[in-house]
Amino acid sequence: MAVNTDKNSYTILFAIAMVVVVGSVLAFTASSLKPAITKNKEIERQQNILYAMGINGNEGTGDITFVEKAKVADAFKTNVSEQIVLEVKGGKVLKEMTRDEFMKSKDQGAGKEPYLIDIKKEQTKAKNGESRFLPLFKGTQDGKTVYVTAVRGKGLWDAIWGYVTLDKDMVVQGAFFDHAGETPGLGANIKQRYFMDDFQGEKLLNDAGVFKGIKVAKGNNDPVNKIKDDNEVDALAGATITGDGVSAMIKKDLKLYLPYFKNLK
């Protein structure tokens, strides 16, 4: 059977059929894989929070490894003693909720664990002048109470985000950064250990107790990062905009937690 493939009607029918077939194949793939993907993303969040707390499988100096997938749920339960949600607006904490209170609250939580709070959505809410939720995870590190905070910002190509662990004086105890699409070998290096480890010990406040943030600085003459009270870490070569993005998100997002930490003292 010879078909005249040059006819307009054939072309249109072919295009329609193609769209329907490809569309259904993709829809089927996406919907059947969705539960597995969601589960993976939840595990990843827990791994990232634990990583920022210093609970990870890192060995030596090079690679970053997380708590094993199978052990994540248990590790998260034992190490994160409390999940707190802060409702903030205009630099003030309106409400402090425990995990249970948040999950029961009708408007937002509705059974959702605080670690699953979508930071992007919350940032949009804040931009529209509404109050936003800030997740905060309490745990202990070397016998000291530490708090894991969440940050999210813009890199060169796409979103960057992370978790920063602070003690009650807002000194960084650990950090984890990740990105959606920074350049491999350049901006993507924010996920390398030598960069994340540099944040340990950096102070977010200056001596007078004013919030200063941490700058990812070029040519700060301290590549080994021995000076911890200069609020600077050494930048990544060839990744200026990603580095600036990290500085900006730390400054913008961690400042929101400031009233909570001021109250701790």
Partner: protein
Amino acid sequence: MGLLSKKDAKLITDPLADNNPITIQVLGICSALAITAELKASLVMGIAVLFVLGVGNVVISLMRNIIPSKIRIIVQLIVVAALVIIVDQVLKAFAYDLSKTLSVFIGLIITNCIIMGRFEAFALANKPWQSFLDGIGNALGYAVILVIVGFFRELLGSGTLFGIPVLGDPIEMTGVYALGYENNGFMLMPPMALIIVGLIIWVQRSRNKDLIED
């Protein structure tokens, strides 16, 4: 008779050297510039392209007699895009860690000229088995160049291979760094990939004079 006839085997071996998609056909340069700062990324990109080009070539070849010529480029694009999305989703579901490493590269496959080039030049006119071999051969030829470029860029730019330090520690000044060597940051910049590809083309053509065009 072996598994492959002489003509079939040529479909695989030709693109590895004498008809290499990057150095001879000068296709796929964009992704070669973008992702070769690390050896691991180069390798992973090579594997992903191997899958997409292998399967895509077969799909296009199977449909070659029913595709209307007026919209064949669009059809080819849809096939690539669909395959890339499927690869991405499957990786996210079953190999999440790997999908994190791949991140941008998977999306970059859609823009890879080699794939459209092979669909257009080979799969539209040949049988599925030959198209499959052609796809595999070209993807391998692409991967070889990517790995070579990635090897030099990562070694000279960061002093590591697959993320493992091989030249010593630049901060503690051990290994070759003790002799005064410094990592060449320029190697991590995209233009260096172009220069390395240029050097490979130069070496290849000076060894095989037949490749030089008049």
